[in-house]
């Protein structure tokens, strides 16, 4: 790993202030630090998880000013004044609860390590959709990897979230194709 992250021997630390799950926080971070590092080091946020640290797996996905982003690609210096939400701060949010229930009832997870990341991506998609954007929820999870499930449960969960009541024409082939097969 030292090959990939050449770091100064004593990385400079600075205090960074931002909003985390509705609370103003100030955290010490190194120049090379990322939002993921800050969240993990606090020990209180475990839902954002390192999977690749290059923005390809989505396991560290959080909401940054309402947009789903991999927290490993957000540098500490970009944070002042921004709003960060993780699933720890979403546990009363109706959109998250809808996502949680869909994932649980469709058994869309196995080991669960990737699941908060998927949930964050879907919450962002549902919110965008409510604001009138045409959103394909399957596109929202294109940046999230799951190695356990083969995505079958996720496909069923997304079909449920896209069903009438959550008016959306998300995945053209999800439910109907599945039943047909």
């Amino acid at each position: 790993m030292s090959d990939h992250y050449p770091l100064p021997e004593t990385p400079a630390q600075q205090n960074i202030s931002f909003e985390l799950n509705g609370e103003a926080v100030t955290r010490s971070a190194s120049d090379a630090g990322t939002l993921l590092d800050i969240l993990r080091e606090s020990g209180q946020i475990t839902s954002a998880r390192p999977g690749c640290r290059v923005g390809r797996c989505g396991a560290c996905q959080v909401l940054l000013d309402g947009c789903a982003v991999p927290s490993c690609l957000v540098m500490a210096w970009q944070l002042p004044g921004r709003h960060v939400q993780t699933v720890e701060g979403l546990n009363k949010d109706p959109d998250f609860l809808a996502v949680r229930d869909a994932l649980a009832s469709e058994s869309a997870l196995q080991c669960g390590y990737c699941t908060p990341g998927f949930a964050v991506s879907l919450v962002a998609g549902i919110r965008q959709r409510r604001q009138g954007s045409k959103v394909d929820l399957t596109e929202c999870v294109a940046g999230n990897l799951c190695r356990c499930t083969g995505y079958g449960g996720l496909r069923r969960a997304i079909a449920r979230l896209a069903a009438p009541g959550c008016a959306d024409e998300a995945d053209g082939r999800s439910t109907s194709e599945q039943e047909k097969l």
């Binding site: 946020i45 998880r49 294109a142 990897l145 079958g152 449960g153």
Partner: protein, 767 residues
């Protein structure tokens, strides 16, 4: 392949789909996983005094180490300890089958990723900075990079006498009948080479966890793992302490798939914890996991298979080379399972000679991976059957039907076999798949095709390996029925499956059951591997529950004053005449802690044929039908549909069963289409998930799982494990579908779109 006469073949077919999942999903375990509250091994940042460890890895694939200088690193800020080979108090070696892998290399490195030293520091950054300050001098050696040539090159383990100075680690041949005579009588012979890739597990949680010293010379490990009791043995020997001093609690593990069966970060973390007296966390990042972690064995095989004019299989010759990399890990067992599957367990063959060689190279390390060599063999075997069918001018399904074993037949190793269903029923159900009726199409750009393959999967460690497992049931002080096993929960739905079985057996509700897994201080259940947990759980519960329930009922009768005969277990407590007379909590309060405990251990069921049974006794079958689209412009292959017919006994927990088949199948699709950790001169060509591509949501096909549950009434072990079954037949089904679409047979995985395009062009020129 056309539809065949199915009359009366399929007796019990149940489709697992969204409805069966929704009706059966247990909510108990899922919410914390979604809300982020479930603690994984790598989440334990809150431990007081926690230090962060990091491991220095070799930068050479093969070299002598002439100097390791840690003095500068020791003086770096925040550093508490730096350790290397001469700091290992016990055995500086580990390995499940052969202890040939150094904890820290002393004289030589054998792969890029071999561990040389480790550091514990206050922060991860300080630990990494200290690694950079360790000086290592290497004297490079020739790199053994080509498994097929490895035996001719200087041995990388020449210092170890047990390997006889050769890179050949194991050579094994299975034989049946007179192969030369059988070959001479064949009407059609197919002879081809097949290659399968070095697949990476890509568990989302990379290897990691903490080692916590107890202050009395012992260490507790909370690390993602698959076999706590076995890890204790290896770790005690490395740490140079008695086994009682070492404990393992497997935390929730973010995926494993075999890749956490071998020790990963435990040796370095444990040594640093003892040296510093403080808890030490090591969590590999993905770069390090790619470089140092276990992979699937790449296999290169030549198969010569022949049949007579009636399509009966007469002869089957196999010569395989498996690249185990720098260390054995579970390679010898993978070779055994490869060879077992290469005998084509589903089919009657008059004579075979199946031989394989497991060789050392400097290409990383390979070991356990879901399928465990079996799916690599099945890819080649099933492809060979398609070649013979083409040679004879008959349908692939017809050739299979002619040769499939019947339930009364012995297995391919002449052992007694318990099939879950007649293999012919599985084939018939697959041929009835509606995917066939959609036909092969060509819209100018996208060519579609449908293909099918079958697979058999044994449960259990096999071939006479010691294989047993225990469990325990008790009433917890809080009044819950507590069931303990040594297995790890790494996402295979084992908690739900155990809970469901206890509820069914006892008559209680889910909330009454507490499942405790993965403590080396609890019952030894053996490794969480080889699709064996489900079988053992059900065997142990079958023996333990009646005894325990009798004891509890007797106690309840004494406490309540009710006649024992009328007492029944129910939701929340003990009932008499439909009325609850005691809650489980009241029952627990009326006895000493641990007062109502029952233990049982069971040997894994093996063929009762001899003292050293060979092959697998409990067999499962699958047939997978794949539908693909091939892009005529780019050669890209999309798998649009996978339809599986499984015969694996009754479904205990439908969402778990469905999820295991779907997940394994997409993993098999990855191996077929995109995944290969190629090595050049011992250097892996991908170092993260931006180069090593696993299937995403949009690559995943629509899947359907039809369960054939007509296990014979007299089968004493009807409940089987399905953790590996789904990967077995995916690759040959996809390549059969590609052939249906394009006329090109792909024998080297993953499918190379460029090669496919070239072959398609050649094919069109020939037409």
């Amino acid at each position: 392949m056309t539809s065949e006469n199915l009359q009366g073949a399929v007796r019990k077919l149940m489709t697992l789909d969204g409805n069966s999942v929704r009706n059966a999903t247990s909510k108990m375990d899922l919410a914390p996983r979604i809300e982020g509250g479930l603690a994984y091994a790598t989440d334990q940042r809150h431990l007081p005094g926690l230090l962060h460890g990091a491991i220095l890895r070799s930068t050479c694939a093969h070299a002598l180490i002439t100097r390791v200088d840690t003095s500068r690193a020791l003086n770096m800020p925040g550093v508490h300890a730096v350790i290397k080979a001469d700091d290992v108090p016990g055995l500086n070696r580990f390995g499940i089958v052969i202890r040939d892998q150094p904890v820290f290399c002393d004289d030589r490195v054998r792969y890029e990723g071999d561990a040389i030293a480790a550091v514990a520091a206050d922060t991860p950054e300080q630990a990494r900075a200290a690694l950079d300050a360790i000086e290592v001098d290497y004297q490079p050696l020739p790199v053994v990079s080509d498994a097929s040539l490895a035996e001719q090159q200087t041995a990388i383990h020449s210092s170890h006498e047990e390997h006889g100075g050769s890179n050949l680690l194991v050579r094994e041949t299975l034989e049946c009948g007179d192969i030369d005579d059988a070959l001479s009588r064949c009407t059609v012979i197919a002879e081809h080479h097949y290659q399968t890739p070095r697949q990476m597990h890509v568990f989302m949680e990379t290897e990691g966890g903490v080692a916590i010293p107890d202050g009395k010379g012992g260490v507790l490990f909370r690390v993602g793992c698959q076999s706590g009791h076995r890890d204790v043995e290896q770790l005690a020997d490395i740490l140079g302490v008695a086994r009682e001093k070492v404990a393992v609690e497997s935390m929730a593990t973010g995926g494993a798939f075999g890749g956490k069966d071998e020790l990963t970060v435990q040796p370095a973390a444990g040594l640093l914890a003892l040296k510093t007296g403080r808890p030490v966390m090591i969590h590999l990042d993905r770069f390090e996991s790619c470089r140092a972690g276990i992979k699937r064995h790449p296999v290169s095989v030549k198969m010569t298979t022949g049949c007579d004019a009636a399509g009966r299989l007469l002869a089957h010759k196999v010569e395989a080379v498996l690249d185990t990399g720098a260390y054995a890990s579970l390679g010898p067992a993978v070779l055994e399972n490869y060879l077992d599957h290469a005998t084509a367990p589903l089919y009657r063959i008059e004579a075979y000679r199946v031989s394989g060689r497991l060789v050392y190279t400097n290409n990383g390390v390979c070991g356990a991976f879901r399928g465990f060599g079996g799916n690599q063999a099945t890819f080649a075997v099933e492809s060979q059957l398609d070649e013979l069918a083409r040679g004879l001018g008959i349908e692939p399904a017809t050739l299979r039907r002619i040769n499939l074993r019947s339930p009364g037949d012995a297995g391919s190793r002449n052992q007694t076999v318990r099939w879950t269903a007649p293999p012919a029923d599985v084939l018939a159900a697959a041929v009835a798949s509606p995917l066939w009726s959609r036909g092969d199409t060509d819209n100018g750009r996208w060519l579609t095709g449908t293909g099918m393959a079958m697979g058999a999967q044994g449960n259990g460690l096999g071939d006479g390996l010691p294989d047993s497992g225990g469990g325990r049931i008790s009433l917890s002080p809080a009044g819950r029925i507590c069931v303990e096993f040594g297995f790890t929960d790494y996402g295979q739905n084992i908690v739900e499956s155990i809970t469901r079985s206890v509820c069914n057996g006892v008559g209680c509700r889910e909330a009454d059951v507490e499942v405790v897994l993965g403590s080396s201080r609890g019952p030894d259940s053996g490794p969480t591997s080889a699709s064996r947990s489900t079988v053992l759980v059900h065997g142990v519960l079958a023996s333990i529950l009646p005894r325990w329930m009798d004891a509890v009922r007797g106690h309840a009768a004494r406490v309540s004053g009710q006649p024992e005969k009328g007492l029944e277990f129910g939701p929340g407590g003990i009932f008499s005449d439909g009325r609850q007379v005691l809650s489980y909590r009241e029952l627990a309060e009326s006895t000493n802690p641990g007062g109502m405990t029952a233990n049982a251990s069971q040997d894994f069921p093996v063929a009762p044929d001899s003292e050293h049974p060979v092959g697998r006794y409990l067999q499962l079958q699958i047939a997978t039908v794949a539908r693909v689209e091939v892009d005529r412009i780019t050669g890209r292959v999309r798998v649009t549909d996978l339809h599986h017919v499984t015969a694996a006994g009754p479904v205990i927990y439908p969402p778990g069963y469905l999820g295991q088949i779907e997940g394994a199948a997409v993993m098999g699709q990855g191996m077929t289409l995109t995944e290969d950790m190629t090595a050049h001169e011992g250097r892996y060509q991908a170092d993260n998930l931006d180069q090593y591509l696993i299937p995403t949501f949009h690559d995943a096909p629509l899947q359907r799982v039809d369960v054939l549950d007509n296990t014979p009434e007299d089968d004493p072990y009807p409940v089987r494990g399905v953790g590996e079954l789904g990967i077995e037949a995916v690759a040959p089904a996809i390549t059969a579908a590609i052939e249906a679409a394009t006329g090109v047979r792909v024998r080297r995985l993953p499918v190379d779109p460029g090669d496919l395009l070239v072959a398609m062009a050649a094919q069109e020129q020939n037409l």
